[in-house]
């Protein structure tokens, strides 16, 4: 399918060669008792569109998933859409480790302010605000410049799927994803449970036998983990509701979710929150939980995401512009402040898959160039650590 030449892509070139499509100052609390302080500093700053922050429930515990927590926080701190990061903590050794890892990952301003050294909570708030003011001129002096297609690191996500997801928004996103991969960009499919039953078909699209085997292996590991929990979802899939909606086989259902990744060959498989090392299409082993997936993408240097939804899920990221594509026209009309584009026209019969694919491609370019998404306008900044996943393996 041919896609017409889009407008020029622009972004912020980072010292490590990565490109950002936003240029944030991120306030990152490493203890849940400091979430409110981060939020207060963010909202009190006059330049609301430049400052971003997150809130989460971690308070320094180290469990068997410490590697994963460490990787997520340190990776999130250095996402290419961030120009400077102000880490705030209580002043513990584990926080120190995260900050050191972030500094090793990317050369950029990373401040670390602790409650222990602050002289009190109110004073810490003042110090964080001063730190924001200090880096503000530096960050805002970085200007957009012309970017190559390889700048795109696209995250593919779906949530609140419906009977139309697999015939409208998902395959249309696949058309756009294929085009970015062909142009030298990177695209990442995720959600291991959603490819169960179709993994052999995706493995057949792997560039090497090793990558194919890795796709089979991540699904097998997931299958073992759900068997361990005493659940066997396979026998109940597709569900009665799916069958009534027209889905016949498990392969068909999983292919519908995987169609976000079009038909391009797979370059590699990534563990949760790992950064891709070369351009191409990847599969990332993530939970099905939307926000955990989005957080893992952010820690993996994803700089733009398209999220297909049948229900208008409000989810957004503090650092990644997240474009919402509606799978059906009724919802797109009902929830206009949550939706960026409507792919439901395919089911209405008024637009083809190729036409909607072209619109998604153009929207990705526009948003990369600075157009705000519905989730950004609405201030949606969800963040979830993926905590216990993997602990039973």
């Amino acid at each position: 399918m041919s896609i017409s030449t889009p407008s020029l892509l622009t972004g912020f070139l980072r010292k490590n060669g990565k490109w950002g499509f936003r240029n944030y100052i991120l306030i990152l609390p490493l203890h849940n008792a400091l979430n409110q302080l981060a939020e207060e500093v963010r909202v009190s700053h006059p330049a609301q569109t430049v400052i971003t922050s997150v809130a989460h429930d971690w308070s320094g515990e180290i469990d068997s998933d410490w590697d994963r927590i460490h990787r997520v926080f340190s990776g999130f701190a250095v996402n290419p859409n961030v120009g400077a990061t102000i880490v705030i903590g209580v002043g513990s050794a584990v926080e120190e480790e995260i900050v050191q890892a972030a500094r090793a990952k990317r050369e950029m301003p990373i401040a670390y302010l602790t409650l222990k050294d602050s002289g009190g909570f109110d004073n810490l708030r003042k110090l964080v605000a001063e730190s924001v003011s200090e880096v503000f001129p530096l960050v805002t002096s970085i200007k957009r410049e012309s970017a190559p297609w390889s700048a795109i690191v696209l995250g593919l996500e779906c949530g609140g799927s419906d009977a139309y997801s697999g015939i409208t928004a998902n395959p249309a996103l696949g058309v756009a994803s294929d085009k970015f991969v062909e142009l030298g960009g990177t695209s990442i499919l995720a959600e291991t449970m959603e490819i169960l039953g179709a993994e052999h078909l995706l493995a057949a699209r792997a560039k090497t036998p090793e990558v194919g085997q890795a796709i089979i292996d991540v699904v097998a590991r997931y299958e073992r983990s759900i068997t361990y929990e005493g659940i066997d979802i396979r026998g109940a899939q597709p569900s009665r509701g799916n069958i009534e909606g027209g889905l016949t086989t498990l392969e068909e259902k999983s292919l519908g979710a995987a169609k976000k990744a079009g038909n391009a060959p797979f370059t590699g498989v990534l563990d949760y929150a790992y950064v891709p090392t070369e351009p191409g299409l990847y599969f990332m082993d993530t939970p099905g939980h939307d926000i955990e997936q989005l957080t893992g993408f952010a820690a993996a240097d994803v700089n733009i995401t398209v999220f297909t939804t049948g229900r208008g899920t409000p989810t957004g990221s503090a650092v990644i512009p997240t474009i919402k594509a509606a799978t059906n026209t009724e919802m797109a009309i009902a929830l206009p402040d949550l939706i960026d584009l409507n792919a439901g026209t395919i089911a209405d019969g008024t637009e083809t898959l190729a036409e909607v694919g072209e619109r998604i491609f153009a929207e990705i370019v526009d948003v990369a160039n600075g157009k705000l998404t519905a989730a950004e306008r609405g201030g949606h900044r969800e963040f979830n650590l993926s905590r216990l996943y993997g602990s039973t393996q």
Partner: protein, 97 residues
């Protein structure tokens, strides 16, 4: 009035298409992405699959350009392709008798 298609063909390699409305028996469908006029042989509910070609028993069912299962009974062009004649290749038990 904008053009309105009755079917969506998800990939040029597919041997089935998806009904965008309920298709009554005898309806003749003419669409740019279908080789020749398709006559509906059995009622097709909205969102369900219709065979674009004659599919023999054991033939793969191709959707999105990929194999999603196979026919365990023959399906004529224009007929409904669903659980009564299609089954997954992998996690499934083929009906017998």
């Amino acid at each position: 009035m904008a053009r309105v298609n009755s079917l969506i063909v998800l990939d040029a390699r597919d041997n089935i298409a998806i009904a965008l409305q309920e298709l009554p028996v005898g309806m003749r469908i003419e669409q740019s992405d279908i080789a020749s006029i398709l006559e509906v042989k059995t009622i097709i509910p909205r969102g369900h699959k219709i065979a674009l070609v004659d599919i023999a028993k054991g033939d793969p069912i191709i959707k999105y350009g990929e194999r999603m299962g196979h026919a365990y009974l023959p399906i004529v062009r224009g007929a409904h392709a669903h659980t009564h004649n299609v089954i997954g290749d992998r996690v499934s038990t083929e009906p017998t008798g």
